[in-house]
């Protein structure tokens, strides 16, 4: 463990992936592995996985549509009271936190456009900054890391 400004960092891991959808599985599996090892509550992990998928897939599809940008960095930071994900890409500037909520389903022009809307509901904190030509999106879910595994009796898939 090392001390950081915002609390004890239990673990911080960086992973770099190519700008391709199939690469998402690598980040997803790493987050699962870390979540398992550090006893991140299952519900928090599921919420983070959903939000991670939306932000990374958005970056892959839109920030560099011709896949000219090489990499996306995902930093996973686990603290006793939270798990944070920072997603960094060097594509077109895009602030996902500024995307308006979609209209009601019956009035939507197509079947898409709800990803960012879901992110707002899935995480406790959702922030964006453009730093040195890169998009930095930070997602944080507050949860008790390292507690005994939950036994809620709910229909959770392991």
């Amino acid at each position: 463990m090392r001390r950081t400004e915002s609390g004890w960092m239990i673990r911080a891991v960086d992973i770099r992936i190519r700008n391709e959808i199939a690469e998402l599985a690598t980040v997803r599996d790493l987050l699962d592995k870390i979540g398992d090892e550090l006893h991140v509550p299952a519900e928090a992990l599921i919420r983070l996985q959903g939000a991670l998928d939306e932000i990374v897939s958005n970056a892959i599809r839109y920030s560099s549509p011709d896949h000219s940008s090489g990499e996306i960095l995902v930093r996973i930071m686990v603290r006793p009271g939270s798990v944070a994900l920072e997603i960094v890409d060097d594509g077109i500037a895009f602030d996902p936190t500024g995307v308006p909520a979609p209209p009601p389903a019956a009035r939507r022009p197509g079947p898409g456009g709800i990803g960012i809307h879901l992110v707002r509901h899935l995480v406790d904190s959702f922030d964006y900054q453009r730093i040195d030509g890169r998009n930095h999106t930070v997602l944080i879910t507050n949860c008790a890391v390292g507690a005994a595994p939950e036994s809620t009796g709910r229909n959770e898939q392991e």
Partner: protein, 120 residues
């Protein structure tokens, strides 16, 4: 763990209803496979399809998109489509997305089959 890394899709037929049981998360890496598999059932002239989500820990927006495209295509072909078996989080996601009212939803596979065979 947040769910199975891989997604499996199994088809079962019961009382003239085609049940597609999804097991694993439906995310950006496999949503297109789900859409293709479900749409292929329409080409096979299935008349009643139930998608059982009991084994799905979560869906992402591309998963919802796949289900919506499939449902719209099914409507054009006069094929009835229902969803069943949503866990609490998946149901919450449908609500967050504002999509719960866009689908026929049943609590269990048994309910879905009973309603489908009764023509509801």
């Amino acid at each position: 763990m947040a769910g199975n890394s891989t997604l499996s899709m199994n088809e079962i037929r019961d009382s003239g209803v085609c049940i597609v049981a999804l097991t694993g998360r439906v995310d950006s890496t496999n949503a297109d496979d789900v859409r293709q598999r479900l749409t292929s059932l329409l080409a096979a002239e299935e008349k009643s399809i139930v998608v059982d989500l009991a084994g799905v820990p979560y869906l992402t927006s591309l998963g919802f998109r796949a289900l919506l495209i499939f449902a719209r295509e099914a409507e054009r072909k006069a094929t009835s489509v229902a969803l069943c078996g949503m866990n609490g989080h998946v149901r919450d996601l449908f609500e967050m997305a504002g999509l719960l009212a866009m689908f026929t939803v049943h609590a269990s596979r048994q309910d879905a089959i009973a309603k489908a065979t009764a023509g509801e």
